[in-house]
Amino acid sequence: MTRSPKTLLILLVALPLLLLGWAGLQLLSLEDRQVEENVRGLLTDRLTETKRVLAAEIQVKASEMEQLTSIDSYDVDSLRAIVRDDPRLFQLFVIDPNDFIVYPDPRSQLNQTEREFLLNASSLINDRLLQKSVLETQSDPPDTTQKGKTTRLNLLSAAASPSEIIQKSEEKQPTAGRWFVWYWGPGFHLIYWQRRPNGYLVGAALDRSKWISDLIAELPDTSEAELSPNAAPSQSQIVESGSKVIYKWGRFRPTSGVEPSAELQLPYPLSAWELQTFVPTDFVTAGKNGVYVLVAGLILSTLALSGLAILIDREYGREARQAEQRVSFVNQVSHELRTPLTNIRMYAELLERDFENADPPSTDSNRRLNVILNESHRLSRLIGNVLTFARHDKQSLTVCPRMIVPDETVVEVVERFRPVLDRMGIETVLQLDARKTLAIDADLLEQILENLISNVEKYACDGKWMRIETGILDEKVLRLVVSDRGPGLPERESCRVFEPFWRGTDEISQAAGTGIGLTIVRSLARLHGGDAKIGPASSGASFVVELRGVADA
């Protein structure tokens, strides 16, 4: 294991926390956006209400002016009397069907307001702007009257919906006369005009201060603005031409330069006006409570996960210690077993020699002795494997290369297996071609070969055939191939055969084995700068092992 369990545990705690924090922040910003959206919606609704109030007031003014400009006789004195007495008017004017101004007549004696009006509105009249806009509307009416007619028909057939009726009443107004916006002096001025049936155009220039004052009177004052339901501290204002404040209401005082929280353009003729509203920024960006909740949640999760991690750590530690104890127990037992086994093997070999020299030779005793020898060889290989595996696990295996001729070692090992192979009737073919000396750890090579041969003996004895090939590649790599004609390896498991404790099948009938043989083969090969692989085979299995000879010492 390369990473310590502690790091893993820290990761285990940190990763979910990071995920949780990120998700929480996403959620918060989403919520913020949503709240902001809601607040903006609410504010826009309020502005829309104000817009409605203003539009209604302008509508009232339009119908008042419609009435006021319904004049068919243009006697100067009576027109002057109207201007003199009507607080809403700045000036009246009349243009005849030939586009000549009839009142105030520039050639007559003018009073002060008439002069002022002509001075400011001369281009309006000289350039016939109004007349042009009349032409525009004259192309409109047929369309509108048609609509009116159909609506009336609908009404007759009692099929008209209320919306259609409203539509009709809305459309009826502007066809009679309309607003004209004209700039002079402090800002834009409203002019209402209509074309009389006699062809004269009668217009009324409204007193700017008066209509602004009237509109202000319709708008809420500060205490009203605060009394309304879902009142937030706010300030709304009407702004002309982007910068000039006309009227403000509400208790909140935004710092200058702040962008309004909501804006609304007013419809014609007040299109130079904009409604704006300001609320405190913390009101728009919702409560910061969300952040506190998130932080609290993160702290709690940290505590919970850390607790869990400590528990897991403790549990894992105990199991690891227990496993370690078991391994070291097996290790020690294996060590303890090796000494008596060595003695057994030594005395058995001595005894074998004694029997060979005996006369007449006792074939029966000789055979029994062979069994003892073979079994003790097998037992020592087993113990060797267990110890190697344990050492590999602890990373305490080392390579001790010596100059050897690999083929000699191979022949030695095969000779050692000869009695077993003979007994099982396995034909052994040797194709040895590694006769040069290489710097290789002979013990390691032996152990690899022993494992591979005992695998053939255990799993592929049915094939009755084994071939061992050796060769040297690139002058210093020993290539060793062990093939058999056994059942072979299942295709999809072939990559797993080198994993520890893996066994081809779980059937009890299968030959016994520890399941670490091939693992040791691969580990040792890699330790020696090479590798162990499954080779291509038409039938049975084939294992290819390469060992890299250490550079000449």
Binding site: R84, T222, Y247, R253
Partner: protein, 462 residues
């Protein structure tokens, strides 16, 4: 301090005819006169026609017309401290002066407007006074909106039978919403047509006197320059004295100048000259007030012994005591003579006194224009000349009123010479409004000894 007294009618007055169904009710008197009853024959000349209306004396407070007044208080940050406290106290005192038939609303404004007390009959004085007591100052000066809301409150009970007025107190420059003198003047003009006048009380030295004076003049209301907050109570008192002594309202003059005679200009109240006809909206007349205009006309040459009618006058008004609409008519004619002594003997001093007052007022306005142009020398020159002009005429016509005006001009001249320009300018606008609107009292803020006035370095304009 000076009160015009109604003196014997001049030579040139032909007829004064009062027509009205109620003979018992007192009437406003119409007086039409020309500066000379007899003009020199054989030359084209300028002469003046004076049209005056004199309010009758209101005997007791009981018979006064109910008032409908909106008190619009500036509570911007600059009012903080003594100013706001004095203003609150003055407004509370004013409430005490009014009766249960009167209608009062209280509007405060800073950056925004607050209708503190919506228009209501004055049945619960304590409530209104405590509401005023709670006013705290801070913020900007949304003067236009304050007046607009005040007008809206007055409109709720707008009636010819009541005296409809907005009383605006401000100590600062309007800085929220429309704030040019022309815009506020235009608002005043439109309110006047509705029958609402605005009296403006400028407090301290930081308010815009052009704006405040124009708003008052064009709406037919009073304008006051109040340098010290301690004077607020007096001014409120004076204003409410005026408001509660209105004897005629909706006062309109129509003057038809005879053919051949050219109307040159109208001195005094704002007027409309349409051809040979002059229209003047005098708004209201206070008890004993002498409300008048002077028309300058050009008379063509005429032969000796000829008689020429100069003008026909009709005045309509609503008598606030009888609640009847009354109409007065009058006319004025002149004779022509070669005899210079006869001509001199026909001089109407009362007419000339007003002519001089108005002409000197025009000169005073000219001096203000020089002041604005930064031409202090010509400003001082104009005031000095005006001073001499007033002095000469005061002596000639033995007029206390002209002496009073000469004094005020003198104070203003002193102030200009001492570079006390802010005070001088405010006092000039104050005086000009008083003369144009024929205020009963003509005051100056400059007559207090200089050492008691706060000494301040005043930057020269421009």
């Amino acid at each position: 301090m000076f009160k015009t007294t109604h003196v014997a009618l001049g030579w040139g007055m032909i007829v004064v005819l009062a027509s009205g169904p109620h003979v018992l009710a007192e009437q406003v008197e119409l007086d039409v006169a020309s500066s000379y009853g007899i003009l020199k024959s054989g030359k084209k000349q300028t002469t003046w026609i004076r049209v005056g209306l004199t309010g009758f004396t209101m005997e007791s407070d009981k018979e006064r017309a109910p008032v409908n007044v909106a008190i619009v208080l500036d509570k911007s940050g600059s009012m903080n401290g003594e100013k706001i406290e004095r203003a609150k106290a003055a407004a509370q005192d004013a409430i005490d002066r009014l009766g249960p038939n009167d209608i009062v609303s209280v509007i405060t404004y800073d950056t925004t407007v607050n209708v503190l007390v919506p228009a209501t009959k004055l049945t619960d004085k304590a409530m209104i006074k405590s509401a005023i007591g709670r006013i705290r100052s801070n913020g900007g000066t949304a003067l236009f909106a304050g007046v607009s809301k005040g007008a809206a409150e007055v409109r709720k009970f707008l009636s010819e039978e009541r005296v409809n007025r907005i009383i605006l107190l401000s100590d600062g420059l309007a800085n929220e919403g429309p704030s040019s003198p022309s815009e506020l003047g235009s608002l005043g003009g439109s309110l006047k047509k509705e029958g609402i006048s605005v009296s403006t009380l400028g407090l301290g030295l930081d308010y815009n006197e052009d704006l405040m004076a124009k708003l008052a003049s064009r709406s037919g209301g009073n304008h006051f320059f109040i340098e010290r907050a301690t004077e607020l109570a007096d001014v409120f008192n004076q204003e409410f004295q005026d408001v509660t002594s209105v004897v005629a309202q909706n006062v309109r003059l129509k003057v038809n100048i005879s053919e051949g005679i050219r109307p040159v200009r109208v001195l005094g109240n704002e007027s409309e000259i349409s051809g040979q006809t002059i229209f003047v909206d005098l708004v209201q007349i206070y008890s004993q007030q002498d409300k008048h205009i002077v028309i300058e006309v050009e008379v063509p040459e005429s032969e000796s012994g000829q008689r020429q009618r100069l003008a026909k006058v009709s005045a309509t008004y609503l008598n606030m005591q009888s609640q009847e609409a009354d109409k007065l008519t009058g006319a004025v004619a002149v004779e022509f003579s070669e005899d210079v002594e006869k001509v001199e003997g026909s001089l109407n001093r009362k007419v000339m006194e007003d002519v001089v007052a108005f002409v000197s007022n025009e000169q005073n306005k000219l001096a203000t224009d020089f002041l604005d142009a930064g031409d202090l020398v010509r400003c001082a020159e104009t005031l000095e000349k005006n001073n001499l002009y007033l002095k000469a005429n005061a002596d000639m016509y033995d007029s206390d009123r002209l002496i009073q005006l000469q004094k005020i001009n003198g104070f203003q001249l002193d102030a200009v010479q001492q570079r006390d320009l802010v005070r001088a300018r405010k006092d000039m606008r104050y005086l000009q409004n008083s003369i144009d609107l024929n205020s009963i009292e003509v005051n100056s803020q400059l007559q207090v000894p200089v050492d008691s006035a706060p000494a301040q370095p005043v930057p020269v304009k421009k």
